[in-house]
Amino acid sequence: MTAALAATGLSAGYGAAVVVRDVTLAVAPGTLVALVGSNGAGKSTLLGALAGLVAARGAVTLGGRPLDALAPYERVEQGVVLVPEGRQVFAGLTVEENLRIAAFAPRVRGHAARNLARVFERFPRLDERRDQAAGTLSGGEQQMLAIGRALMAEPSVLLLDEPTLSLAPITARAVFDIVADLRAQGLTILMAEQDVHRTLAMADHAYLMASGTIVDEGAGRALLDRADIKRAYLGL
């Protein structure tokens, strides 16, 4: 089967500094694929390169079609949508404006009202705060908003960058529940996450990153059971 999203020989970086080197990965349709690795391994850079935000060389394809020449907004139009690290909500805009602007892509512009209703249905907390400035939301609410914003663009592949970063444990659990729910509904997801244990437990497949390259891969549960990975990433 053609991968939903695939990268071949992808290198990416900032200016002269190459941070991600020669990465090859594939995300099968309808699966949740995890990207794990310590801080600074290059996970965000890789996701940024897939979204078109970070300069890259190599090939990125969506359902076999090349994305390499496309700007970030054109990749969203194609269905590749990133929920960035640190949420990056529009702090000065209201919750509703944050969501509405995410229906900018022509493909989904006509569905804005319907998608807005769906997001509010999924996240009643956001509905209650729809006229509130996004900057005044709690971290967990901002993460829901960031995810809701991505859903407004009807992603075919969702890229999640550390969605539980600096959230309280109970909120982090709620975010994992949302991810599991999206996965259960058939959404294709590539997720970088610090909570390696929980992530590997739920992932269909996982890539292990270190120093900008992929050093290992396998089914999520299989990686979870490996002694070397336990030592290096799980502190066991």
Binding site: F90, R100, A102
Partner: protein, 296 residues
């Protein structure tokens, strides 16, 4: 006697007219700075060029300034596009950190060039437009037609832009880019196109303002500077990206200047403007820099 003066509706009208002009000019700069972080210290020179458009249209064809205003706005768009093609995409490519400092220097140089070209083309001697200067009495206030036009058009354009930013998808996109350009790209906004649109709008608004203000201002190659200062007061006082706040700040500045002059003397007019600028920088020293950091 002072109390009578302060309470006079005549003074209120003057303050509103001046403030609406500042609000309009400031709105243009706010769009450009907010979306692109360009410190256009030549913003007032667009007002100057717009004023000359109105002057020459009237002098050569008798076209009244309100009808020349769309032409001045069109000139603004042309200049914005020329600047974008010739300079900005290179400047914008240089990296976000350096864009403010670089643009300040570039626009400072361009401003001097434009002013001197205008002086060469039109001479440095100030000119005045004598038109629409019939006096209308409304509720005991004597108003020239030209001032009524300035007030109404300025408020209408400011109001229209603010509504457009809320109610249209491109307007919302401009607000999103002002708030967080990177996030705007992430959610699928065509950021380069939005920036270009905002640049067009910002320059057009400045040109349009100039054509209107030509009816009440001395027109000369160096008339733009106070408007540049006023525009920076507007965006610092109003808050970056808060275009509505900027409109309020513009009106406030008009009141400070008109009532300040009424309480002192006309010779203090410029000093009040520049004094407010310095005071705003002292009271909100975080000013632009802080606002920009919050968003980044």
């Amino acid at each position: 006697m002072t109390m009578d003066l302060i309470a006079s509706p005549q003074l209120l009208f003057s303050a509103l007219v001046l403030g609406a002009g500042y609000a309009l000019v400031g709105l243009g700069l706010n769009l450009v700075y907010g979306t692109m972080r360009l410190l256009n210290v030549g913003h007032g020179d667009l007002v100057m060029l717009g004023a000359y458009v109105a002057f020459w249209c009237f002098a050569l064809t008798g076209l009244p300034p309100p009808l020349a205003a769309p032409l001045a706005a069109a000139l603004g768009v042309l200049l914005a596009e020329a600047l974008h093609r010739g300079l900005l995409h290179r400047l914008l490519g240089a990296g976000a950190e350096r864009i403010e400092a670089n643009s300040l220097l570039v626009f400072f140089g361009l401003s001097i060039i434009v002013q001197n070209l205008a002086a060469l083309a039109f001479t440095a001697s100030p000119r005045a437009l004598r038109t629409l200067d019939d006096v209308v009495h409304v509720a005991g206030v004597a108003m020239t037609e030209s001032r009524i036009v300035i007030l109404l058009v300025a408020l209408a354009v400011c109001g229209g832009v603010l509504i457009g930013l809320r109610a249209t998808v491109w307007g919302l996109a401009i607000k999103a880019v002002i708030d967080n350009g990177r996030a705007a790209a992430v959610v699928g906004v065509d950021v380069p196109r939005v920036r270009r649109l905002a640049l067009w709008a910002g320059f057009a608004i400045a040109g349009l303002a100039g054509a209107l203000l030509a009816m009440v201002e001395q027109i000369g190659p160096f008339m733009g500077f106070p408007y540049t200062i006023a525009a920076f007061v507007v965006i610092i006082l109003g808050g970056l990206g808060r275009l509505g706040g900027g409109v309020v700040a513009g009106l406030l500045l008009g009141f400070v200047q008109v009532y300040g002059v009424a309480l002192t003397a006309p010779t203090f007019s410029s000093m009040l403007l520049y004094g407010t600028f310095v005071a705003v920088l002292l009271l909100r020293p975080q000013g632009l820099a802080r606002a920009a950091r919050i968003r980044s």
